[in-house]
Assembly symmetry: D2
Homo-oligomer: 278 residues x 4
């Protein structure tokens, strides 16, 4: 028995569910879970099914293509550990949370390596027998630095996701384009408020009563990529910006780990700079 995650998105038209469910029925597949959503404004159809049965990957993929219109996107995915790269700067909490989950066997992922522009976190990562690569940006312009990172990445084939676990440098369009919808960032504010540097200081100066964190895919507009997950906590006048930063870390790490989990379980569709999440 094989289990598959089937992700389908298309321009909506009558009969899509009928065609897909009829195929599942004819192939004697068991539907373990099924989610659909139609964005009526944009006339887009999304469906994620988990099925199992006696069927080969290629047979299922091909059969779906045959019964569905040409312009439909079909993904058939065997649940298995995905390969991820983590990029960090100096802060430990978001990385630490992922390492502990990985160690606990909670993540459907292999951590291929951790890359940083500083060596501060090497000691932590080494405890877990995961490669740590320091690629300093000192004396390099942005592109030179990224080329070194790309060199490093090129040593790994099949990178499914790059996780920016408080990587504090902005990536160039050239870099981002190579990993479209594959780079997951945690921004330490409740986007779209407080885009850019030191959002806790910005939040403090504005006197907000709630702070938050946002995990999103990275695209070429700073902190403007499709949002995957957000969470908030209440603060009051007694919080200085460093208190906000300290409390915010709890939210940051939980939100990033949640977003990563959604990605690893193939639960996210990206379109129109938004996400549909099942």
């Amino acid at each position: 028995m094989a289990q598959y995650r089937v992700l389908i998105d298309a321009n909506d038209e009558k009969g899509l569910v009928h065609k897909i469910s009829t195929l599942f029925y004819n192939k004697d597949l068991n539907i373990l879970s099924n989610n659909e959503f139609v964005d009526r404004e944009n006339n887009k159809f999304f469906m994620r099914s988990v099925v199992d049965g006696e069927i080969e990957y290629l047979d299922l993929k091909e059969s779906l293509s045959k019964v569905l219109p040409n312009n439909v996107n079909i993904e058939v995915i065997k649940p298995q550990k995905k390969n991820i790269i983590i990029m960090v700067t100096k802060e430990m909490h978001a990385l630490g949370d992922i390492l502990i989950r990985h160690e606990a066997g909670e993540l459907e992922a292999n951590i291929l390596c951790v890359i940083s522009n500083y060596s501060d976190l090497k000691s932590l990562v080494s405890k877990f027998d995961i490669p740590f690569v320091t690629i300093s940006h000192v004396g390099l312009d942005r592109v030179e630095h990224e080329n070194k990172i790309l060199d490093c990445l090129s040593r790994y084939k099949d990178i499914d996701y790059i996780v920016l676990a408080k990587y504090m440098r902005i990536l160039t369009p050239g870099f981002v384009e190579q990993y479209e919808d594959k780079i997951i960032n945690i921004h330490h504010s409740f986007l779209p408020a407080f885009i850019g540097a030191n959002p806790y200081k910005q939040a403090f100066d504005r006197g907000v009563k709630i702070i938050g964190a946002t995990s999103h895919f990275v695209n070429n507009n700073l902190d403007e990529g499709p949002i995957i997950a957000q969470e908030v906590i209440h603060v009051d006048h007694a919080y200085g910006w460093r208190d906000m930063q300290r409390s915010g870390r709890n939210v940051e790490k939980i939100v990033l780990s949640s977003a990563l989990k959604l990605a690893l379980e193939d639960r996210i569709f990206v379109y129109a700079n938004k996400t549909v999440i099942f």
Copy 2:
């Protein structure tokens, strides 16, 4: 063009989605939204679809019965205002919230009347030109009192829901049986904590840091019916139990109104003393 909400629950078996979606396709129905859930532990299938098309109510209902196995529950519902009765005692907040929503046209409901064992809220209800009936319990035993209420209810046919908006008396099994899964209560605690009288006092005495409210269908075990919605707020040592009660009112009214909205939109399945909510 008619719009229908189709609610189906059944023992799970292969082909249900296929059969239903094929019927929708053949009848040329447009699926506006579609939710499914399979409880694998109990092998139960739930589906709620909103469809529109050129079809008569009876034709759709009958066609579904024909293609589906015998033991499947099928409900086809035309979206329209439901008839509700509200029962209260003396507190104004939950009732007031429903009255304002009703006045604002937010509720898919006609309020047939408000029944109370006291006349305190008559003045408020009368402002909205809604009948208010005082049925005092003084000098009556529980069954005698309820018989008077049942008399009053019998004047209305087609009562879809009875909403207990802080009705502070326990209903007898005889009463509850006549309105199975039709009586919606708000309990002023985060069930199953603090069952019974004065939950805020109980919560205060226990020194909790969070209080809440629970809306549930009423069955014959006190505060044990299927839960529809819950919400909480944080409190601290500075809250006396009356402060908790005061703050709790915000949660109570929002939770009750949310649960009522779910019911009016036919989004709730009840089974195994739980709810499935789409």
Copy 3:
């Protein structure tokens, strides 16, 4: 026995608490509650005490002035109902919530009148025997319209707060200056995100997973005044912007009523475009 709320703010210096508490002690006053905060960055001291005892208002006020440095702000307030004006446009939920609380005796306030640029809500307000004044903006420029409102306000002396319960027009600096830190607004977004018109549409377009509402004092920068209270709710891809708007109403009304309650209980200090709230 008289009860007073004593609000003191000053540049921080040693001995303030000592001087104040010694005075309370010498005057044989009972401290019912006491809150202090020092903003170390700005070297500002804030204190709110509730005291009771056998003392005249003037005696307490004068005695405090004598023991404290010259530049200290001292407010001594007898708890009593405050006078408020509510301004609305067409939406009912925020106004309705205040009216119900007022009717339930929950608010320490007299509602002097409700002013609107439309007459839609007149029917609701009239039910509660509260004056409703329609001051249409049609055919008037902004200042002409506001002058008519100011005329209306001038009929009431001692207006403590003006509550903008979804008043959808921007007030001019001339208007705002006359009621500094006295106008409480509800903005239907989690400020500072989505400043300006139709924030739910903006939130929807950005694909956020959380929406919120912010109550703040109005100053002369649009949606930039000192924040009093904020709250949020989770949304997902299935929410169109009208769904967000509908769900957001629950948050809006609760946040505005909470902020109003804080103001009526004299719990808010405003400084540096922020609030300290006890």
Copy 4:
């Protein structure tokens, strides 16, 4: 310059704040922060001040005793790392969160050792160069097992707190008495709901829409000790009990770490089986 945390609790009487603040003033101490609370029902006064100045510990302690009534509890604490012992069974998340915070320098604590009745977590703890002691309960009765643990604990003097980071055995009264208000537990439910074993299964069976976690001091009634912190998350019908357990872990670890932080910063008063937290 020395900094001290001054914690005072007493039966409330007039003049306490006056006496304390006058002493601080006379000793030329700077009040960095100050919190007070009076429980009017029980007539209890609580105060936590952080002060700095040129003063010796003994002088401050003694001076306070002299000016205050006899039955007042006075604690003067120099901020410094506290000594903690962590007890675990097999689950990694709560322990891992503390280890990462410790490694990041976020905790005001030395972890003296980790004790477990299983050796599963030895590998993790060893990475951080922290002693791990396995004390199996197999073949021992409860008291014999605890005596072995007490033996181990006796090797460390000055244990400030024992943290039960998912230690899944019930401690006997004999054990608990020796560490009154010093054992911090995380219970994986929103107490007082679901006391005892497998609360997630209980929550699932009850069909709740919110689950939570509670950190509390341990006393001799199972899950009945004074509550320090609680937090919740929303769930729905699609969550099996293992899903609840998985999601609950995020809440458990954050709540336990938050409670520990409050304890390490001397922010908690315990009385009447409750906590006052500043």
